[in-house]
Symmetry: C2
Subunit: 246 residues, 2 copies
DNA sequence: TGTTTTAATATGTATATACATAATCGTCAT
DNA sequence: ATGACGATTATGTATATACATATTAAAACA
């Protein structure tokens, strides 16, 4: 997402939006190089014939987006690109499959309720042992396996999950909207399919797979750990770029 | 990144920051569930004993962050988490290697200047044929290959690159800071190593690899296409979670 | 000359005010 | 009932103003 909002059909944008996009344009195009001092608020308010507050609103947003740095008494300066960040959109698998024009099918393979093992606790980053729900699910695109899901749900954080069989609804959509998440972490890597995954995805053992692991917290309590395994041919993650972001 | 700024040592935060974090806290904790109508601006301005403008500043930021949705005449409502977006930090490979405590070494394997082929144009999403620079580079962690880089640079967009040998400096760091980028796209997938990659990374042919491809534009002109290939064991991409983001 | 004090300046935050805009509600006529 | 229409209401944007705060430049002083 760009910090510049797209104008609507009539092209009516607010003044501070226009100031923001004008300046952002000049920075992006390189016309104002990193280190360059952009005009003072009072200069811009004269240029645009508006109040300083309006200019301030635009510049504050640019500063928050990391495009400029503001220093009292000195002015505002174009920042040099720092950490490059890309936004990964994490879609629902059903949506992904249907976007391919293929019929989606979900299947619960296994479901076990147990007291968390040391391994479970490591995956969940859970402090003390407690009840967990371990799920294994298949996601299909047409007849072909699309992704294999291995999930742990912390029943201390989400006790209602104990009453759910997850035969009809997949745990992902079930959790979303029910549990407010505050933080999560993704790990993405390539692995060779082990025997178990090879059978589940109907590929050769040792074939390359993309693994996306996600750990979710809600208010400092671990909620779930999920590992999606995709056969190499079936999946590419796409990330849009975000300039800036301080 | 949280939209709630961290307070400084004395705990002095501006009032609109406090309002923002109070509300954000209640949403994150689930106290205010999705669909809940949060108090009107005039109610909050009474509660906090401040002007409506101050409340508006906080709520506007929450809306932009995607935590709430604002509807005229109706009020502001907690949004249910929509598209989940994760921020991928794209680091410099040198930094990544050095973070592992290993000595970093860069090596230019090949460099060809040529008129762009149909394949080149497809990778760059370049309209018409023009001069391109094709580079192949190795990145090493200690003695082991860490990543293999295959890059195309559009010499129409970056003519100075034609004079650079890229023996000492890697093309990534060279381009960064020199070319202001405005947009990019990443594709991440797992592949089996072909003969060429297997030799370059010193792994078996067919072994799983993580491929990160990046295409960069600057002011609508394609600048570069790069493909990094990592041996499966050597690399995991980590993404932090961003709740919201409309 | 070197140090301290003071003034000037740009940004940061907050206020009261004004009017625009979109959506909803109630009323009234059909 | 149903539709038109005006009143109401919450948000959206912008203004002029005020004072706080950080930082730098200039002036005063030892």
């Amino acid at each position: 997402m760009s910090i510049v909002e797209t104008a609507d059909a009539e092209g009516t944008v607010s003044l501070h939006q226009r100031i923001l996009s004008d300046i952002s344009e000049r920075i992006m195009s390189g016309a104002w190089a990193p280190g360059h001092r952009i005009p003072f608020e009072h200069e811009l308010s004269t240029q645009y014939n508006c109040s300083r507050m309006t200019v301030n609103k635009a510049l504050s947003q640019l500063a928050k987006a990391g495009l400029i740095e503001r220093r009292r008494r000195s002015g505002s300066f174009v920042r040099r690109p720092q950490s490059q960040a890309a936004v990964l959109e994490i879609h629902d698998i059903r949506i992904e499959v249907e976007a391919l024009g293929l019929p989606y099918r979900y299947e619960r393979v296994a479901r076990h309720k147990r007291r968390s093992s040391a391994e479970d606790r490591a995956l969940l980053e859970q402090g003390v042992a407690g009840p967990v729900l371990a799920l294994e699910c298949g996601h299909f695109a047409g007849e072909r396996p699309f992704a294999h899901e291995q999930r742990l749900i912390n029943l201390t954080a989400v006790p209602e999950a104990a009453d759910e069989e997850f035969v009809v609804i997949a745990p992902g959509p079930w959790l979303i909207g029910r549990v407010p998440w505050s933080e999560a972490e993704h790990r993405i890597r390539a692995v060779a399919a082990d025997r178990h995954i090879a059978v589940a995805l109907d590929i050769a053992a040792g074939a390359p797979c993309l693994v996306v692991e996600r750990r979710t917290w809600s208010a400092d309590h671990p909620v779930t750990h999920v590992r999606f395994t995709y056969a190499a041919e079936s999946h590419t993650l796409v990330a849009r770029f975000r300039p800036s972001q301080g």
